[in-house]
């Protein structure tokens, strides 16, 4: 999967985020947050600050789960992503939007969350992988403890 990131560009990936989200990510980076902190904030902010109303519950470990699955896709040959890996080149040639949407959908299916909900996290992880390199991202995620069983 060395070529997984080929053809993706930082500009194109940033353009996949709504402008206000891209601006907020930029703001956090300018404020000195590391990529891990940016990802964790992206995953946690919907629940911040007030007593939320409505049924359902926001997953506590959304960032960790998404990151772990992104790692499985990018850094391993796991059969969970075999179909996607086969189609990846064709998807990427169509557009980054389609490729990242497909990756979000596959990761979402693994962790039980709608693709659109985790799309900003997946885009952010792809951006980080482009910036620091696949090997560095794989190493960084491997060195962290995996999510506890049953937690997503």
């Amino acid at each position: 999967m060395n070529a997984v990131l080929d053809g993706l560009s930082e500009v194109e990936l940033l353009a996949l985020l709504p402008a206000s989200v891209a601006g907020a990510v930029k703001g956090m980076e300018q404020a000195g947050l590391q990529w891990e902190q940016v990802g964790a904030t992206l995953a946690a902010t919907p629940t911040s600050g007030i007593a939320l109303k409505g049924g359902g519950r926001w997953p506590d470990r959304l960032w960790e789960s998404t990151k772990a699955e992104f790692h499985v896709f990018l850094c391993t040959e796991s059969p969970n992503y075999a179909d996607l890996r086969q189609q990846w080149d064709a998807l990427r040639k169509k557009s980054s939007t389609i490729a990242v949407s497909a990756l979000s959908a596959t990761i979402g299916a693994q962790i039980g969350v709608a693709a659109g909900v985790i799309a900003p996290l997946v885009i952010w992880l792809a951006l980080v992988a482009l910036r620091i390199g696949k090997e560095a991202l794989c190493r960084a995620v491997t060195q962290q403890p995996p999510p506890a069983p049953g937690q997503s």
Partner: protein, 223 residues
């Protein structure tokens, strides 16, 4: 009047979603992102009154038709999501005007909150609740990130999230309700406050909805 529908995640009613756009057959609705966290599937329930709160509603309903929706685009900082589903025809729907920037409703203005406040209890009853804008807030949600909100004097219930905040003078969609005040000193179990002031509610400014609408149409390939 805006069209507001009950929202289900994973087959369970969780809150409300308001129609914000329709192009060709694609209908887009805005809601609170936090409602969608632990479910791979999202449905929009279609009760007999069609989301028109000014019509009489049969009550209680045991079930009602529903359509599957996809999550088109989200803004986690603003707790906003735009959902999409395909309508059977291209007939236009009532869509409230959405302000292009925050702060276009004055403090003291009267609003109506439209939604399904008891949705998590299985209720399909849509209600119109009066409220007043008591503050225009800029919430520091993270270093370098500020989100515009409306603070309302209005009573929130368990299913109020995703409700539409409509200006009573101009029928514009000014916000998407997301929660109630939890004073910092209240007793908590983990992150969950066990005492909240439900008469002070918070809504995300709706001007952020428009870019999610365009992003969703782009993803769907609808121009």
């Amino acid at each position: 009047m805006a069209l507001v529908f009950p929202l289900a995640a994973g087959g369970t009613l969780v809150g409300s979603a308001v129609v914000v756009a329709k192009r060709k057959k694609e209908v887009l609705l805005a809601t609170s992102l936090h409602l969608l966290g632990e479910s791979a599937t999202v449905q929009i329930a279609i009760p007999p009154h069609g989301g028109q709160c000014d019509l009489p509603q049969r009550y209680p309903l045991v079930s009602t038709p529903a359509v599957n929706a996809t999550v088109g685009a989200v803004n986690p900082f603003a707790d906003l999501a735009v959902l999409a589903f395909e309508a059977p025809d291209e007939n236009p729907l009532v869509v409230p005007p959405i302000p292009e920037k925050p702060g276009l409703i004055a403090v003291g203005s009267e609003v109506a909150v439209l939604g399904y406040p008891f949705a998590p209890l299985g209720s399909f009853l849509e209600t119109w609740t009066p409220g007043i804008v008591t503050a225009l807030a800029k919430r520091d949600v993270a270093p370098g990130v500020i989100v515009d909100e409306l603070v309302l004097s209005n009573v929130a219930h368990p299913g109020s999230s995703g409700s539409a905040v409509i200006g009573r003078r101009d029928a514009r969609l000014y916000g998407i309700l997301r929660g109630a005040l939890a004073p910092p000193e209240v007793l908590r179990i983990g992150n969950i406050p066990i005492a909240t002031d439900t008469s002070v509610t918070f809504a995300t400014s709706s001007h952020l909805v428009q870019e999610l609408v365009e992003a969703t149409f782009q993803t769907l390939g609808v121009s």
